[in-house]
Symmetry: C2
Subunit: 347 residues, 2 copies
Amino acid sequence: MRILIDAMGGDHAPEAIVRGAIDAAAEFGVQIVLVGRGEAILKSLSALGLDTLPKGVEIANAEDVVEMTDDPANVVRTRRESSMVVGLRMLSEGAGDAFISAGSTGALLSAATLVVKRVKGIRRAALCPEIPTKTGSTLLIDCGANAECTPEFLAQFAVLGSIYAQRVQGKAQPKVALLNIGTEEGKGTQLQKDTFAMLQKAQDMGILQFVGNMEARDVMSGQVDVLVADGFSGNVLLKTIEGTASFMSGMLKEMFGKNLLTKVAALFCRDGITAFKKKLDYREVGGTMLLGISKPVVKAHGSSDARAIRSAVRQAMEAANGGMAEALKEQVQALNQLTKPQSDETT
Amino acid sequence: MRILIDAMGGDHAPEAIVRGAIDAAAEFGVQIVLVGRGEAILKSLSALGLDTLPKGVEIANAEDVVEMTDDPANVVRTRRESSMVVGLRMLSEGAGDAFISAGSTGALLSAATLVVKRVKGIRRAALCPEIPTKTGSTLLIDCGANAECTPEFLAQFAVLGSIYAQRVQGKAQPKVALLNIGTEEGKGTQLQKDTFAMLQKAQDMGILQFVGNMEARDVMSGQVDVLVADGFSGNVLLKTIEGTASFMSGMLKEMFGKNLLTKVAALFCRDGITAFKKKLDYREVGGTMLLGISKPVVKAHGSSDARAIRSAVRQAMEAANGGMAEALKEQVQALNQLTKPQSDETT
């Protein structure tokens, strides 16, 4: 297996990316292709005390870099030779099995859609982070790729998420829920009402296991495997978790830092504090899957360090092994007969 | 000042309500009218060791009770003699300065709108909880009263929130932000884009101080006084905070309960743990204001105990003192000229 990595994307590129890639190659025995400015990558290697490329690691030169200020919709045209676009082209042409980038989310979404293309019949690609829960994690689909959604998009997200949970996460009968402001049928806006009806039909047809509406309050209890949301409210959900966790961690730090006794208390609780941090640490989870694209694309966190990149490689390998695209074909056809898509084919 | 309280609403009614009302009357020197089944209220009093009504506390008899299973839209008709509807009628007729209920949110919203009526020119009432932040609290408007919103509704919410922050919370120049999935102008769905433009005009006209979009991640940093959202995403925000806080508190409890050393650690951190809990405790804040109604109505938490009711009374007193309705008139007229409301006058 060969994983392509955008060596130039993210706050700590290329150093952190190169280091994470080397770690992953050594640990997982996977072939890594670092896509980016050869010179900068070699410099990062020598900063790590390496004169030559380690076993399993290659470089694919790409002279340009996508900037965070670039218009996402245009990078395929304006940044043809960027590490991101070159990497996606290699993925599309079969020079690798998955692509990882910690660069601009919008640019990656747009370029992956244009270069690697969506799975046939899928109308929108979605960003799917894993939300930490009491029992493990819940896949959120979508968290911001599509601010405006139709019921058809959401029904497709449900299928995408369900198949990912099955094929990649190894969950035999994934439970799918719809994010809503109440659990009863008939809650929410017209979007949720129409989506609820579609998901119930999909359940009746055996396409997925729909367990109904879920309130934001219950997401972290871990009762479902896949949570379907429009990109706007999914984004609000994800970022509220981040904000609340950061707020509470700050209070915790203050609590333990108060005086000598509380500092001793922190020592007593060291294992618990480590477990606590680990549970909420994106670097453990990997990145955010971009589902609906015909080959696996992983968006790594913008501030990814080597450990986050290593986790993203593991995730990309699992996704590439899952064979989602094949499993999707049949289900999407069945679903599309059900949802009668509108004649909207932008992006 | 006279505060009307629905003695029969909430999980712990009437006991907790009666007790909280007595505490509030004693502490704040305010007149309290307990609306509900006289017999049940007297029984609660005697359970507290009281043979007569304490100073400052009266009973207004109402034989019926709104149930959580009642259709909210119909309670004014089907539960005419319920504690909630009788209390609201008394408020409307001037027999009290504010009304508090821990009963069904939907029923309270609907009955308050029908019985007490909205402020002239205001098109929707909104539910406005206070979100705890690093520096105090941020008023969220709306958190679920209106799942479907128009830009006009949101612009009115901004004005309602801003005037509440000024008149009731004593913030001289409240900063108003719009909940969005990015900080740049042009982010979000059409609803956010159109609302952004309207709020900027309102800012130019001196109606309020609009500071732009805010991501959910930054809400708890406390940089704004009022956060405007449609009821759907506001509800997702609020409930995600609740869910994440409960998740993290659970982990914390587990951490401190692990062994003898961690239990000792908990003792060392006792003050910090108390402060931590207090910061996230709805019982300290009071209830959720129902803004846009012509007189102050407070929705207390369904599981309110006596302390929560006491806090809700304090909040109702502040709201009644604020004289919002008068301040609103002028601003709403100015705003409505700006927003050209659609001809939608349902609910």
